[in-house]
Structures are given as C-alpha cells and as structure tokens.
C-alpha cells in the first residue's frame, strides 16, 4: 500500500464493516451505484465524515486492469468546471475481495450519465446552450488538464455526466480507474488511435482529447451516435477514405454555427486540429477559416489487393494489416515496390520499402515466418508512418506497448506478439520513420533496446517479460502472487507488504519471485546489478545471499526500520548460507544468533552477520589449514603403514648394530676393569 500522504491509508470503520479512507471518507459496499460504474471499477455510495451531506461516491477498482495512479495524484484536488472533481484517493481493505483495492472518491454528478450507451438517443441540445454551458466548460477542463500534464483520454458521451439535476452543466467523468484510452469507442478515437487494439492506444497527444470532444459534440448536438450500428472496422475504413468530419456529419445536419468548431476539432491532421487555444479564441468570438484537409498524393493507377483498388498507400496499408497472410507475398514479390515507383511515382517511398525488407532480413532470426512478419510490419510502417505498429494481430503505438503488455498479463492472455514486436526492432523502425526529430525519440530507442535485451534473457530474474512490464508501465502494481492481497505500486511499499505476507506463506517459499525482482529492478533507482547477478546464480548459497542482500539494501535505503515478519522469513531460508561455512562451530554460532537478529527485524544486520567478510576469510583460512593438517596426517599414516612392511629389516639391522655395540662396550669395560685390577 502507499504511504501516508501519497496514496492514503486503508482502514475500516469503527464497526469493522464500513471501510473508511483516510479516517474521513466512508464507503458503503452494501450500497452500490451501478449507474456510475466504470468498465474497471464499481461505484458505491460514499460519505464525508467531516462534511455530511456532501454528495460523494466512491469508485473501487475491482477490475483486473491497472488504474492510472499518477493521474490520480495530479487530479486530486483539481477543481475546474467541466470535470468531475476527484476529492480523494487511496487504498482500502476491501472485504468483498479480501484484498486491498484502490478507491477514488468523486463528487457525485446529480444529473446522471448523458448517454448510457452509444446507441442511446437523447434530446439534442441547442447550439446556444451547448456552447456556453457545455462545450466551453469541457474545453476549459481539458485545457486545465493539459496544464497539469494530464491527458484525459476517456472523453466519450458515455463518460459525460450532468453535474446537476437540471442538466444545465456537463462534466467529464473518471479517467483514472483503468488504463489510458482502453474503454474509448473507435468512433471517439482518431484514425491512428482507432487502428490500435484498445490497450495499445497509449497516451497519445492532448489533441486526441479535443478530437474526442468533437465527436461528443456531434452526438450531443444531434442527440444520437451517427455511426450507431456501424462496425469498428467500417468506421475506420470510412474515416480513412472520407475523413472523420465527413464520416460523422455527412448524413446529419449540424447547426451552422457549430460547423467550424466541429470541423476544427475533428481534423484528422493533428497539426490542423483545434486545441485549447484555438477553441478559446473561437469561444471569444474570433472566427477562422475552415480547416481544409491537406491534399494527398494519389497514385496514377490503382494497386489491386483483395480485389479492391487502392490509390493511397495509407489505405492499402490498412487493408494489408487486416489481411496479413495475403499481404505477405504481395510485399515480398516486389509488386508493391513496382507500384510505388510507377503508379505512385514515389521512388523515395519505394527505396524505403526496400530498406524495410532488408532490415527485416537482419532481425528475422533466420526464420522464414519471422522474416515475413517482420518485413510486412516494417513495410506497413513505411506505407503509413502515422499508423500504429502493426504486427499480425498486435496493433499499438510505441507509448501503448506497456498498456498492451499490462492488459495481456492482467487478463492472462498471450504476450507473444508484444514480445516479438520488441525483439524484432519494430519500435526502432517506427521511430526511424518520424519526419520530425524529437529528443524523446532517442530516449525511446534506447529504452526499447534495453527491453529487447531483457527479452533476450527471458529466464533471468530481473529481466524477461516481467521487467518489460514494469519498465513500460509506471502505474503497474507488482503482480507477484505473494502480494496478491496488497497493492504495491511504489518501491517503498514493497518491504512492508512482504512483511505482512510473511505471516501467510510457507516459510520455505522464497520472498523474491520473478515479478518482485523485476519490479525492484525497474523501480529502484540505484545500481543493484551485483545483487541481481548473485540472485541468478545456480549455487543456492549465492542465490540466497543475493536475495538477502537485495532486501537488505532496500531496507537500508528505503526503510522501514524493523521488519520482523520478513526477517523471520529470511531467517528460515538461511540454511544454504549457514551451510556454506565450513566450520561446524561457526554454523552452530550462526544458528544460535540468527533468531536474536530476527527479533531485531533488521535485514542489513542479518546480512552483515551471515556474510561477514572477516568471518568468511577466517573460515576459509582455518579450513585450508585443517585440510592441510588432514592431508599431512593421512600422509604420515600412509608412511607408517607402508613402513611396517620394512619394519623387520630395519629392526634387524638396528638390533644387530645395537647388540654389536653393547657387546664391544662390555669387552672394553671388562678389559679396563681387569687392567685396573692388575695395576692397583
């Protein structure tokens, strides 16, 4: 969970059944408000304990997808007309799920949702009332969000609410309970964003919100969705062929005074699309020349693909992306290149196609299918550089890769296409085709190169898919099963969460699984390469030491001071480290001392104790001496045992010499004695 003042604290009411956020906001799980639900969160009645009667409701994130926590931090307390005010957010113990959940407290819009679904029909709003009471506050709200660096990306008629019961004012609904733009209908998204899979749209640009606002404006002005019942594919195709404005407005009559702003907001060219400044000028009475679409270079003769004639590369790319397997031979046989040179008379584009195919051969991993897919993906990028990266069924902008990966992992779906797209350098190709240089592109290229390196080492802890997941998603909570009951978004919350987990898990389970290691590697700003290297060692002792070292570093740098549960957990895993000492006496000392250190709750102390350099050196030196002693003893034993074979011979020689010496000595003494007897 987040710390105090960051995300808030969880808690339960005095009764123990009503969760209370930050000792102030009571949430009533028994009082759901389904009309205010979002796709990834459930709405419940809420109450401000200090200001009773204030109309509030709570959105509890109950869905599997990650919410936009950074956006919550910035939205809290932001009050502007046209925006549903986020009063507070934080984490609560959510009894129905027996887990911690993110909760957002909003001011309740009293007039309900403007459109319950996109197929709804409502009373059209007159243009005079619309501009002053509705459109302008919404533009102001988007402008204010832009000033705070927030892209709303959930501007759609079904996420607009009447803030009062009279229906005089409309506010933008929640944009933080789910991933960015994931719930947006294709009709509300720009052509490029609509091409993406919902999770792969990415944050995009602020102008995308104004585009969505333009679509909302059309629907509110005519009281219905002009494209209701039309499939997403057809909406995209129509937008591609005719432009958004024509697609939406061709069959309806807009108030004359609204045409200019709607045309400006719905401009498909992002450079021409109206943003806050231009809409503000328009609201203030300045009238501008109508936005005209840039002329596009059309081919002299059509390229026939799937029995359809195409005159524009962009439309052809869209058709090819939707008919992947049939497009591959067309591209590789060179027909496309010939058409570009002769039909479109664009040699530069044709050269780029050749380069794109050559690039694919370089990264195609000597696999024919991989080469073909990469080649087509590269060619589609060249044909339509503004479109998202398209790789078989994967479609995402470079800033949407994280969203796709996060959603696929959260929903338990296959992540192969995302990883292949990264491994085959498609983001690099996409970034290389940008017309305008941006310093961010260098950073992004470097980031994707790192991600590629992680994926090339898929079995290493702190790399692989998990590392990519956390590197690409700042708001991604740690998905370790060990932390399933908690929400760990900040690295500082990890150790306290593991401390709580300690009491629930089998002590033989390791506290650092792939997700946690990847999360730490992605979120911890300092160098932990030595710890990661040790963690990935095959040797159990070194791996356990690496694990303890990493946790100790985190506690040392980030706190908290005492982690009794986690210390006890780690203490139970010290077997391999204890056994790595040779001296049995040292092992006994360690076994006796570890419980004392565990009671202190300090992982750094535990680490320093079990891996003291002096103790290690002394143990090693003494062990070497002991080995030498043993070897010398063994050698002596062998010599003594082999010496017994020749013992008889030695003994005989020695005995004979001894006997001879003794005998001669006796003779000398006798001579001396007898001689002395005669002399005296």
């Amino acid at each position: 969970m987040a710390r105090d003042g960051d995300g808030g604290q969880s808690g339960k009411g005095a009764t123990g059944t009503t969760p209370i956020l930050k000792d102030r906001y009571a949430i009533f799980p028994d009082n759901p408000l389904p009309d205010l639900d979002t796709p990834n969160a459930t709405a419940f009645a809420a109450e401000d304990r200090r200001q009773r009667g204030r109309p509030l409701f709570a959105l509890v994130v109950t869905g599997p997808l990650p919410p936009r926590v950074q956006v919550m931090q910035q939205l809290r307390g932001l009050r502007t007309a046209g925006l549903m005010a986020l009063v507070e957010w934080g984490y609560i113990e959510w009894a129905p799920a027996d887990a911690v959940r993110v909760v957002l407290i909003y001011e309740q819009p009293m007039g309900g949702r403007v459109m319950k679904s996109l197929s709804d029909t409502i009373t059209p709003i007159s243009d005079q009332q619309f501009v002053k009471s509705l459109l302008r506050p919404l533009c102001m709200a988007l402008g204010e969000l832009q000033n705070h660096g927030i892209g709303h990306r959930a501007v759609r008629p079904t996420n607009l609410f009447y803030s009062d019961a009279s229906g005089g004012r409309i506010v933008l609904g929640d944009c933080a309970t789910g991933p960015v733009a994931i719930d947006q209908p294709v009709v509300c998204e720009t052509i490029e964003s609509g091409m993406c899979t919902p999770a792969g749209r990415g944050l995009g640009v602020y102008a995308d919100d104004f585009y969505a606002l333009g679509v909302c404006a059309v629907m509110l002005l005519i009281g219905r969705n002009p494209l209701a019942g039309v499939s997403d594919h057809d909406i995209l195709t129509q937008k591609l062929h005719h432009g958004t404005y024509a697609t939406l407005v061709s069959d309806v009559r807009l108030p004359l005074g609204m045409i200019e702003i709607v045309r400006g907001l719905l401009a498909d060219d992002v450079d021409q699309r109206w943003d806050f400044e231009q809409t503000d000028l328009w609201f203030n009475g300045r009238r501008m020349s109508p936005v005209q679409a840039k002329p596009v270079r059309r081919a002299q003769r059509a390229f026939v693909f799937m029995n359809q004639e195409f005159f524009l590369p962009r439309n052809l790319a869209h058709a090819m992306a939707n008919n992947w397997d049939k497009a591959v031979p067309v591209v590789l046989e060179g027909k496309l290149e010939i058409w570009l040179r002769r039909g479109l008379e664009n040699n530069q584009l044709a050269d780029h196609i050749t380069m794109a195919i050559r690039n694919a051969a370089a990264v195609g991993e000597k696999n024919k299918a991989a080469f073909q897919d990469t080649a087509l993906a590269n060619v589609l990028i060249v044909l339509d550089p503004a479109a998202p990266i398209r790789y078989r069924d994967f479609r995402a902008h470079v800033d949407g890769f994280g969203g796709v990966l996060s959603a696929q992992v959260a929903l338990g779906k296959d992540t192969r296409l995302v990883t292949e797209a990264i491994l085959r350098d498609l983001p690099k190709m996409w970034l290389g085709m940008r017309e305008k240089f941006s310093p961010e592109m260098i950073q992004m290229t470097s980031n994707f190169r790192e991600l590629r390196d992680y994926l090339q080492d898929p079995f290493k802890k702190g790399a692989g898919l998990e590392r990519c997941l956390y590197e690409l998603n700042e708001s991604q909570r740690c998905l370790s099963p060990l932390l399933a009951r908690d929400i760990v978004l900040d690295i500082r919350d990890l150790l306290p969460a593991l401390d709580r987990t300690a009491s629930r898990v089998d002590s033989k389970t390791e506290p650092l699984d792939r997700h946690i290691v990847a999360f730490v590697a992605a979120r911890y700003p300092k160098d932990i390469a030595p710890q990661l290297a040790a963690l990935n060692e095959d040797d159990t002792k070194r791996a356990t030491l690496g694990m303890l070292s990493l946790l100790a570093v985190l506690q040392w740098r980030l706190g908290p001071e005492a982690l009794h549960g986690l210390c006890g957990w780690m203490g139970a895993l010290m077997g391999p480290i204890i056994n790595s000492y040779h001296s049995r006496a040292r092992r006994r000392t360690l076994e006796q001392e570890i419980p004392r250190l565990v009671r202190k709750g300090s992982l750094p102390e535990l680490y320093n104790f079990v891996d003291s350099a002096d103790e290690r050196r002394a143990d090693f030196d003494e062990f070497q001496r002991a080995r030498a002693e043993w070897a010398v003893a063994q050698q002596n034993i062998r010599h003594l045992e082999s010496g017994q074979v020749g013992a008889d011979e030695n003994a005989e020689r020695t005995g004979q010499r001894l006997a001879a010496t003794g005998s001669v000595s006796v003779a000398i003494v006798t001579v001396a004695v007898v001689l002395l007897g005669y002399m005296f």
């Binding site: 043993w630 020689r653 001894l658 003779a667």
Partner: protein
C-alpha cells in the same frame, strides 16, 4: 702401465711385510697367540658363518668372547708369559667353558635383539597411526567430510 705394475709390486711388498711381522710376532708372542687362537675361536667362526645384513655378528660374539678371555690373557701376561702356562690355561676346561659360554651368549644376544627392537618399533607406529586417525576424525567432525581431501590448495 708402469704405474699399474708399480702399485701391484707395492701391494705385494705390504703383504710380504705383514706376513713377516706376523711371523716375528708369532715367534716373539707365541703364548699369547696360542691363547688367543684357542679362546677366540668362536669369534673366528662367527666371522666366517655370519650372513646377516650388517655382518656384525663377529663383533657381538667377539666382544663378549674377548671380555671373558681377557682376564686369562692378562693373567698370562702378568703372571707367567710362558708357553707352558698358556698351554695349562687353554687346557682348563672350566675356563674354556666360560669363554665359549660368553661367546655363545653374544651370539644369542645377536640373534634376539633385532626381534625385540622390531616388536618395539611396531608397537610405536601402531600407536601413532591410531593417534593420527583420531586427529583426522576430529578434523572431520569440526569441518565436515570435505576436509578429508588430500590435495591442499
């Protein structure tokens, strides 16, 4: 060639000198020589028959043999250094028995001492092996079985 013939003639001269001196000695100290020839006979036999590794049997036998013979020898020298007295002494069976008994004892000592020494040495090395093995066992208890490898790094 000349040097070789010169060396050979020198050896021959020495041998001849030796023989001459022995002959003079035999003539001058005949009683002593007679007494020693008879009493030291076991030593001469031991010198001939000894095939042991050190070939020191004659020393062992000779030492005790001479120790037993020397009182008679000094008696001969200081009492009556005559041939008759020498003959009387070597015909005294009791004296001869003592002298030859001492020689026999020397031989017995020469034969048994190696066995005693061997038994002692064997006992000492077994005890050392036991002590070394106990030391190794203690090392294994203190440091584990991995200490029991001979290659020392």
């Amino acid at each position: 060639m000349a040097a070789g013939s010169q060396g050979a003639s020198l050896g021959l001269t020495a041998k001849a000198g030796g023989l001459l001196l022995f002959a003079i000695g035999l003539f001058l100290f005949l009683p002593t020589v007679l007494y020693l020839v008879v009493t030291m006979l076991p030593t001469a036999v031991a010198l001939v028959i000894d095939r042991s590794a050190t070939r020191s049997g004659w020393l062992c036998v000779g030492g005790l043999n001479f120790a037993a013979a020397c009182p008679g020898l000094f008696d001969l020298w200081f009492t009556d250094p005559s041939l008759e007295y020498a003959t009387t002494m070597i015909t005294d069976v009791f004296s001869l028995l003592i002298v030859y008994g001492a020689a026999a004892l020397g031989w017995i000592i020469y034969l048994t001492t190696p066995q005693i020494i061997g038994a002692f040495m064997e006992m000492t090395s077994s005890r050392r092996i036991t002590r070394l093995k106990a030391q190794q066992k203690q090392l294994v208890e203190d440091w584990g079985s991995e200490v029991a490898r001979e290659e020392v790094e």
